[in-house]
Amino acid sequence: MTGTLHEPVRRTVVVVNPNGLHMRPATTFAQLAAGVTCDITVWLGEKRANGKSLWDLIGLCALRGTELTVEADGPDAETIIGQFVDILASPGDPD
């Protein structure tokens, strides 16, 4: 029993990258997500993507202007969620 009582943390973000959530930012996102213990989920309306799966993320086909919700679920959710929001909110392609 991990026995912690924390709520998942959610943040809403609008995609501003002119190319949308395309292969490169999605790759950066998935790589980062793979390295954290939290579950990371991205929602586009009802559509749900596992943040650790590149297939799922680019499968959202989120164009510029799309509103996404990032959800982090785990002990350090509050501390790490900002990095994920930054990737989605970045106007250019992250490294």
């Binding site: 190319n19 949308g20 959530l21 395309h22 292969m23 490169r24 999605a26 790759t27 998935a30 790589q31 596992n50 799966s53 590149l54 297939w55 799922d56 680019i58 499968g59 086909c61 989120a62 164009l63 490294d95």
Partner: protein, 581 residues
Amino acid sequence: METKHGIPASPGIAIGPALVLDTEGVHIPRRTVPADLIPSELARLQVALHQSTEDSRRREQEMTTRLGKDIGKIFASHALLLSDQALRYDIEMLMKAESYSAEYAVSRCIRSRVKSLDDTGNEIAQRIRADFIDVEKQLLHRLLGARGDSLDLATENVIVLANDLTPSETAIFNTKTVRAFATESGGPTSHTAILAGALNIPAVVGLGKLLNDVSGGDTVIIDGYEGLIILEPDEATLERYRERLREDEHATDRYESLRDSEAITKDGAVVRLFGNIEFPTEAKACIEKGAGGVGLYRTEFLYVNKTDDPTEDEHYEAYREVLTVLGPNRPVVIRTLDLGADKFSPAGGAPHERNPFLGLRSVRLCLQNRTLFKTQLRAILRASCHGDLRIMFPMVSTVLELRQCLSLLREVEEDLHEAGIDYKPNVPVGTMIEVPSAAIMADVLAKQVSFFSLGTNDLVQYTLAADRNNETVANLYSPVDPSVLRLIHQVAQAGNRQGIEVNVCGEMSGEALYTALLLGLGIRQLSATPRKIPEIKHVIRNLTIPDAERVATDALQMETAREVTTYLRGQLRRFLPDGAD
């Protein structure tokens, strides 16, 4: 056992294991495996996923060093896709639930993701689609090893089944290992079908939904005479087809021995037998089959599947190659571009037409696109230095059109002359007779050219106003309809009176059933697919001209195509008592 009906595209029988090509041209040898093999399939999958992930990571490093981070990142993405746990889980579930092979499960899983992309239809989906397909191919290649690479590496004798094949795919078939092919789509005059005939392998096209019912390795029978594919044949059917296969091989051997004999009737009349070709590589087959030259060199392959029109040099090289193979003493008749209607070129930009067979095709298209036409004529004239070249214009329907073609040719000659470029002056020029108006005006046209070539396929369809690919009217289409026979007779007489050669280059000239009739109508030159030449030669060597003339006289008096066909069958049995039919 299940029999499916399609369109016969190239005759012959083949029996063998199926090789199923999916639409992307990757060969998936088996769709399902026995349940007890699933654990080893799962292990193969794991190895392939691991190896292809490693391949991508290696490429990421190489490319980052060579071309920078941005390019490297593409392969980082691929590595992520290939190592994705959800993907692996989905593939494994499919294999366990459906007994799918690793290859097939991979393809199904990735294709379902591609399909969801296609369904969204937005611009991101279009961009990443190629990455999904690429990842699928990497995995399949890892799973299949060299077998997955391409068709020409297929080492067993296989029968290729596909939704459709492009001519270039068909062209790389190794005819030593590909025994036949069958496709879901396509028509009998598609280039793929024509090429199958030239490659001398049986083919059936237009079979409709087929690939879901057959797994790689299943035994199938292709009957290219009747246009059938038989899936999972029973033993009695197999035996029947093996017998027919033996008969076919026997017949081929018998006629092959005639290769070096002359095409001469019993009473000494010489008939010139030429080959029809589509690609330069077929020139050799003409000589191997004992053809006296190339009676029809179609040039459309230069335009089909291209994004740009071919350059003059591309034309020139294609012509020079054939002339060089045929040598100085065998004529090569080059037909100028016959595109339009069924043969659409993206580069030629043929517009949409409501009635393409009565529209802007062939020489009509050329006369309205003079730059395109002149490029081809220049290349043909330049190539004339390399052998016995002749030029032929297709689809001529009026004397005026023919005159326009001839004057354009003279213009091109003058240009070459002024530029000091070599060409052979006075190259023989001919016209095809394939429009009824041209057949009727043959006596006038004969004065303008050095030869005629009867394109019976089009002549029949235009005379009877019937498309043989339209099954509801195909019964009207017959090369021996009395109306067509009268036209052929009239053209032969007009040519002979003017002292010019009259050739027949339609499919009719390759059918033994019609040989006596054509000779009797006054034809002394036939051009057929090279494969048919030995058999036609055999028929000629068993005829006399009076025999043939009697056949023609009788046939010309008949009232229906059916009567003529029945009569010709009886006559052929008389001339060839040893039974070719």
